[in-house]
């Protein structure tokens, strides 16, 4: 609450306005107009930032007409901090705009010094920005432009990886084998638990789904065909790809993104070492080698789950189920599954490394890179899965 007392006729050429707040932590401001030319501000009480101080606009009315000078009386000022300084800074700006000169002699010495320090470095006008419009149209436009800007970068990164593989084949790629082994261990054996759990549950779901439909025509034994071909050919690779995108793709993006933040990637470049060879290649190789193996493993775990459901719930003999599985599976199903696993692995590694290398310089951008790596990885896997399914169908594989 701000109170106001107007006092006029205090002498022929003096008029004063007194403002104060009504809280416990009181400040008082008295504006004394002395003649036409001078305004004296008398600041008393506590002027601290733990309370709202008067807005400089209340003084605006007094800065009218031919007022030329502003002075201060702070004899009754009991306490002040940067709240008072911020108030004075706003007031000085206002006076500057109106050509009113300021006599700071009445201000405490510390106030004068700190105000001078704040004014010592001129404000960077280029630094102040207007916030851009964030309407729907703006966002759609920005997203579209970002997509078209991103596409050449994705292609360029693909080109760099291809060149790096070329150097690898010619034995000229520089990376440490220990890094490759470390990555292989990280993306392969350490992913076995999560791949086992997911594949088992997916195999179980497939078996139940098949049983429900096949029971209608009395052909429940074909659960074995459905689960075996489904897991080995499609679902094993797809689920492994998605698990790896969430687990390893995000990790790749976060690792490389953090290296960007710490300028480690710049350090590689300045030493003439290709960060693609040193960092991306081992990760690509690790995933391209391990994801097909994880896919095979996922297929077997899925079939095991199918067998468990069929023998315990649907009364199919274990030997019967095993024979039917062997009859259904052909080498081509394994090859299709393995090829898909390799491609999905490459896609995940590509997305993770791409987003990591594109990462900005802040902690926030590392998070964005990790999220984007997962989204891009899953999107690429889905596109690749669709294309490969169509191609294999056309080829009769």
């Amino acid at each position: 609450m701000v109170g106001r007392n107007n006092t006029f006729g205090n002498g022929a050429d003096v008029a004063s306005t007194r403002l104060h707040n009504s809280g416990e932590k009181q400040w008082q401001l008295e504006m004394r107009r002395i003649g036409d030319d001078l305004l004296e501000l008398s600041c008393a009480g506590r002027w601290c930032q733990d309370q709202d101080l008067p807005a400089v606009e209340v003084i605006l009315a007094e800065l009218r007409g031919d007022l030329g000078h502003l002075s201060f009386d702070t004899a009754q000022l009991s306490a002040w901090d940067t709240g008072f300084l911020a108030f004075l800074r706003g007031l000085f700006t206002l006076c500057g705009e109106r050509g009113v000169s300021i006599d700071q002699a009445g201000l405490p010495q510390g106030v004068r010094h700190l105000l001078a320090m704040a004014a010592a470095v001129p404000e960077q006008k280029v630094g102040r920005r207007s916030s851009p419009g964030q309407g729907l149209l703006f966002q759609v436009g920005a997203a579209t432009m970002a997509f078209f800007r991103g596409a050449p970068e994705m292609l360029s990164f693909l080109g760099e990886i291809t060149l790096s593989f070329g150097r690898l084949i010619r034995g000229r790629a520089r990376f440490r084998l220990s890094d490759l082994w470390w990555e292989i261990e990280e993306v392969g054996p350490r992913a076995l638990v999560i791949v086992s759990v997911i594949s088992f549950l997916v195999g179980l779901i497939l078996a139940y789904l098949g049983a429900d439909q096949l029971r209608l025509v009395g052909a429940q034994i074909f659960i074995a065909d459905l689960v075996a071909i489904g897991m080995v050919r499609e679902v094993g690779a797809l689920m492994t790809g998605i698990i790896i995108a969430g687990r390893t793709g995000a990790a790749f993006a976060a690792q490389l993104g953090t290296m960007q933040v710490n300028e480690e990637i710049d350090a590689f470049k300045t030493l003439g070492i290709s960060p693609i060879d040193f960092l991306v290649l081992p990760r690509m190789l690790a995933l391209m080698l391990m994801v097909p193996l994880l896919t095979l493993y996922a297929g077997f775990v899925g079939m095991l789950a199918g067998m468990l459901v069929s023998t315990t719930i649907f009364d199919i003999g274990m030997f019967e189920y095993y024979t039917e599985t062997l009859r259904a599976l052909e080498l081509k199903h394994f090859l299709v599954g393995l090829s898909k696993g390799s491609v999905y692995g490459a896609m995940v590694a590509y997305a993770g490394c791409l987003r990591g290398m594109q990462c900005g310089r802040s902690a926030e951008s590392v998070g964005e890179a990790a999220t984007s790596a997962v989204v891009t990885g899953i999107l690429l896997i889905t596109i690749a899965a669709s294309l490969m399914t169509i191609i294999y169908y056309r080829l009769g594989i």
Binding site: C48, Q49, D50, Q51, D52, L53, A55, D81, T82, G83, L85, A86, F87, R89, G90, P108, Q109, G110, V111, H113, L114, M117, A118, A119, A120, V121, P122, E123, Q124, K125, V126, G127, R128, R129, S131, G360, R361, S362, A363, E364, S365
Partner: protein, 249 residues
């Protein structure tokens, strides 16, 4: 205030497991001091700072603020004591998802009921004090290391704390900006009666602004000198003189 020292460090030992960084530290920081904690690389300056500001419990001993045992009180009391402190971390430690203005405004929003307009005025003034007027809407990632450091100081000053703890204020700054920052530290002490604790090994700052100090020794893992650093150059422990004269003495 109850007549107790402003900050008192009593029998403080800092350790990582079995490895003792510094042991048996005893010193007092008086109100209005610019207290320098100095020492060579790896001597435990920052570890000591973490004990002072409540980020790392000491292996032994404690820190008293105005007679209150920081490590002996309940967490709620610790939070109250922490509000008397403003901390500037070595790299600024700005929140990367917030603009500079939002970084400085956050403590004010949390602990005061200021109107948005006053808040903006105060934030703008604090940034101007550290030479960053006009950078309100910038994100930390868009700033240089020195600017981040200065913005970190503006955030540390947000609540006009009693005690300002500053980790390596001048490192990475150009000489003029470093001098300006030293002047600001002096002015904050003189005008707002802020007690300043500075962790540094920058000789210009140590000798330019320090009124009291301790020297942490890497060899003996304890403090080997206290008092005004200017006096230490002339008559302090030989190891401290060696350090303060860059090996000349």
């Amino acid at each position: 205030m109850n007549g107790a020292p402003h900050i008192e460090i009593r029998d403080l030992t800092m350790a990582y497991g079995e490895f003792v960084i510094q042991r048996d530290l005893n010193f007092v920081v008086n109100k209005g001091d610019i207290f320098v904690i100095m020492g060579g690389n790896g001597c435990g300056k920052t570890t000591l700072m973490r004990a002072l500001i409540g980020l790392q419990r000491p292996a032994k001993g404690t820190v008293f603020y105005g007679g209150e045992d920081f490590w002996g009180v309940e967490p709620e009391e610790q939070e109250r004591l922490k509000r008397r402190l403003g901390i500037m971390f070595q790299g600024g430690a700005l929140w990367s998802s917030l603009t500079l203005a939002e970084n400085v405004a956050l403590p004010l929003k949390e602990y005061t009921a200021l109107s948005p307009r006053h808040l903006a005025e105060i934030v703008s003034f604090k940034l101007a004090l550290v030479g960053l007027a006009g950078f309100e809407e910038f994100y930390p990632a868009e700033l240089s290391g020195g600017m981040k450091k200065r913005a970190g100081l503006a955030r540390a000053m947000a609540l006009d704390p009693d005690i300002l703890v500053i980790d390596e204020p001048s490192s990475g700054l150009d000489p003029l900006t470093a001098r300006r920052l030293d002047d600001l530290i002096l002015e904050l002490r003189d005008s707002l009666e802020t007690t300043i604790v500075v962790i540094t090994h920058e000789l210009a700052s140590i000798l330019g602004i320090g009124t009291n100090s301790i020297f942490l020794d890497t060899e003996t893992h304890t403090m080997i000198n206290t008092g005004n650093p200017k006096k230490a150059v002339a008559s302090g422990d030989p190891r401290v003189r060696h350090f303060l004269t860059r090996g000349a003495a």
